[in-house]
């Protein structure tokens, strides 16, 4: 028995990575009666394995949020804007959070756990980082709107609603998208830039540790009105992080660059351009697409024409980091393309910031159970099962 046994708990974002695992553990470990706010039922296959109440709703619709919150003892707000343009995502993050908290206030929910992110601290300097650091905007929609959402959430503290904020760092593990599936896809489809050889610190946290921290944030009295960084026991380097994924795939696919080189590479590639052209360029850069184009009659003609050009002109057309296949060669013969690294990620991968979890340890009793070795072993076992290797 835990205080959550038979409690009615709403999880927003339950079809996502963290919310999904949270919902599972609330049901099977705590015996909670979980209601999941679902925008698209098609994404609910994993959740549907459990006795769970699936209710349709959208963060942008206050009526649907109010129906979902009504009757709940606890609310875990994990949903965030993940599709559409920046502005649409900002609206989901900021207004959506307001809708959840308004409904929670109205229906006297015991505690709302708002899922924020360590990204609210912006481009962090080297050295220790704790919750006393200023929130800093970087001009990128995700982090900036999460600052807005976090401020909104904490703004309800004085209005009689109990709110705790968690700020997970780099969350990885089974079903993880940004830091599990994506790195594997990037390593498989091209080469990944390691800024300064991957010397920067990766504040990794295994998904189950984040979920444990969130549950503590719901239950511990002293969490009210507070924010908690949730990270693993010790940071590792980005080099070690990518090496672990290269070893899962059995291939080396990283390339070291200084931050300046990475930025130059980004601006020289499609990442800097917007709109359809950038998408088309991206598609053309995909090895499978290039192979298909290269194998068409027109593709072979273009390649032959290209090879008849003077060498100097050829080099100018190719440009740095772009290669055209020789006639009668296929995409598989070419050196894999280097994936451009977005400027926000360059700073993120350069910093030797150590996200401290002293506050979560002290106040919540948070104690990460999965060190990097154990977490990555489980992740590798999942990736193999998931046919991703």
């Amino acid at each position: 028995m835990t205080p959550l046994s038979n409690a009615k708990v709403l999880v927003t974002g339950a079809t996502g990575f963290i919310g999904g695992r949270l919902a599972e553990r609330l049901i099977v470990e705590h015996g909670a009666r979980v209601r999941a706010l679902v925008r698209n039922f098609g994404r609910a296959a994993r959740l549907a394995r459990f006795p769970i109440e699936l209710v349709q709703g959208d963060l942008c619709s206050p009526e649907s949020i109010e129906r979902a919150v009504e009757g709940c003892d606890y609310v875990f707000h994990c949903a965030y804007g993940s599709d559409g343009q920046d502005e649409a995502r900002r609206v989901v993050n900021a207004q959506g959070t307001r809708h959840v908290l308004d409904a929670a206030l109205k229906h006297r929910v015991r505690r709302v756990v708002h899922t924020s992110t360590v990204t609210v601290y912006g481009n962090t300097p080297d050295g220790p980082l704790d919750e006393s650091a200023p929130r800093r905007k970087t001009g990128f929609a995700y982090g900036d709107s999460k600052i807005e959402a976090e401020e909104t959430a904490l703004g309800y503290v004085g209005r009689g609603l109990s709110v705790a904020v968690v700020q997970p760092t780099v969350v990885y593990g089974p079903f993880g998208t940004t830091f599990t599936i994506k790195p594997l896809q990037l390593l498989k489809s091209g080469r990944v830039i390691l800024v300064n050889g991957g010397d920067g610190l990766a504040n990794l946290v295994y998904v189950d540790d984040v979920v444990s921290g969130m549950i503590l944030a719901a239950l511990v009295e002293g969490a009210h009105g507070e924010a908690f960084i949730l990270s693993g026991s010790e940071p590792t380097t980005w080099r070690a992080f990518y090496a672990a994924h290269e070893s899962m795939l059995g291939r080396s696919a990283t390339v070291s660059m200084t931050p300046e080189e990475a930025l130059k590479h980004f601006h020289g590639s499609d990442g800097a351009r917007a709109g359809m052209v950038s998408q088309l360029m991206k598609a053309i850069r995909h090895p499978g697409v290039r192979k298909r184009i290269a194998e068409t009659r027109e593709g072979q003609l273009a390649i032959r024409a290209f090879h008849r050009l003077p060498a100097g002109l050829r080099a100018r057309i190719s440009g740095p980091g772009v290669s055209l296949p020789g006639a009668n060669t296929t995409a598989t013969d070419m050196a894999p393309a280097i994936h451009p690294l977005h400027p926000s990620k360059i700073a993120f991968m350069t910093a030797k910031t150590h996200a401290r979890i002293d506050k979560a340890r002290r106040v919540l009793g948070f104690a990460p159970q999965f060190d990097f070795t154990r977490g990555i072993d489980l992740t590798a076992a999942w990736a193999e099962w998931a046919n991703l290797l």
């Binding site: 099977v28 039922f41 098609g42 994404r43 549907a48 006795p51 489980l378 046919n387």
Partner: protein, 342 residues
């Protein structure tokens, strides 16, 4: 000939994405009515396909139709189909035909006593490549067949319009995709002699399932099904003289490799007078045309209730013997919790 008046039962994703488009491509039919308890879906789908009469219950449709297409949550297949058949309405019901053999028997009896045709939407029987595979197996080209291995999984993206599909009575990936696969195995290899079935349901419906099966002829095989993983979506069949791999999806490729060969022949199968199916819609149109033919000619449809009952029997047996599927990535925490939940 007067067109067959057809009613569509259920205004969900199947009606919208599959059956109504197939009806629109079929001659000899007129879609006159549609029924769904959800007023919003009913209006939306009926307007989209210009279906004149709309009803909240299938009972109200009966007086206006000769035939019905039933695409509703699995647990309602039997009761609704029986109502229709008893009233003399011909039925094409989506797979799985029902969730128990007792229900199948009642459906077959209802069809026999009223004379209304009962067809089941085991669509893959219409796929040329899968038919070709059956013919290759029967011809003995591969020698005696030893084993097979099926992996079929897609990260679930089916545009379901409600949570009904995930209700515990509905069954999970086994009832849904598994029915198609089991039907192929029964069609290709004969009856099932023994099985070992595991899935990951913990009080809800399974998203991942692994079935090990022995066919009556001694062929053994493994079937892996998933709604959480993108798998290779093919069946590999190994015989003494060679191997055939066939994609289990619509427009699939078949690959034949001789036992000691280092080359394979790969391509699509075609039926006389037909183009290879361009998409899933073509197969659904062929299925609809077969249903219409069965009604017009007073003959049996390609997939009868008796034939479809065979896969329901295996499904029923799987669920009855279900064991917990242990994931390679699970922690002690998952194991303890799942034991408790199941």
């Amino acid at each position: 000939m007067r067109p067959i008046r057809v009613g569509v039962i259920g205004a969900g994703a199947a009606a919208e994405g599959i059956h109504l488009p197939a009806l629109a491509r079929t001659s000899g039919v007129e879609t006159v009515a549609i029924a769904d308890p959800s007023a919003d879906r009913l209006e939306y789908v009926a307007d989209k396909f210009k279906v004149p009469a709309r009803y909240r219950s299938h009972q109200d449709v009966i007086p206006h139709i000769d035939a019905a297409i039933v695409g509703i949550p699995h647990q309602y297949h039997a009761p609704v189909t029986i109502d229709l058949l008893r009233a003399g309405v011909h039925v094409l019901v989506e797979k799985p035909m029902a969730l128990s053999t007792a229900e199948c028997d009642a459906m077959i009896r209802a069809s026999e006593s009223s004379g209304a045709r009962l067809a089941v939407g085991l669509l893959r029987r219409f796929a040329p490549t899968l038919r070709y595979t059956k013919q290759v197996l029967e011809s003995g080209m591969l020698g005696p067949i030893r084993s097979f291995d099926v992996r079929e999984g897609m990260i679930f993206r089916w545009p379901v319009k409600s949570a009904a599909m995930f209700s515990p009575q509905c069954g999970g990936v086994l009832a849904d995709i598994g029915t198609h696969v089991i039907d192929l195995l029964l069609w290709w290899f004969g009856d099932v002699a023994g099985l070992d079935y595991r899935d990951d349901a913990a009080g809800g419906v399974e998203a991942d399932a692994v079935l090990k099966v022995e066919m009556a002829g001694g062929i053994t095989g493994r079937v892996e099904l998933s709604r959480t993983r993108d798998l290779r979506n093919s069946c590999i069949i190994r015989g003494e003289r060679g191997t055939i791999e066939v994609g289990t999806k619509t427009d699939s490729i078949v690959t034949l490799t001789p036992v000691h060969g280092d080359a394979s022949l790969s391509g699509r199968a075609v039926l006389p007078g037909q183009q290879p199916p361009g998409n899933l819609g073509d197969l659904f149109a062929w299925q609809m045309a077969d249903f219409v033919r069965a009604i017009q000619t007073h003959s049996a449809p390609a997939v009868t209730g008796t034939e479809a009952r065979r896969s329901v029997a295996v499904l029923e047996s799987c669920y009855r013997r279900r064991q917990r599927l242990v994931f390679p990535f699970e922690t002690l925490l998952d194991a303890a919790a799942s034991e408790k939940a199941s």
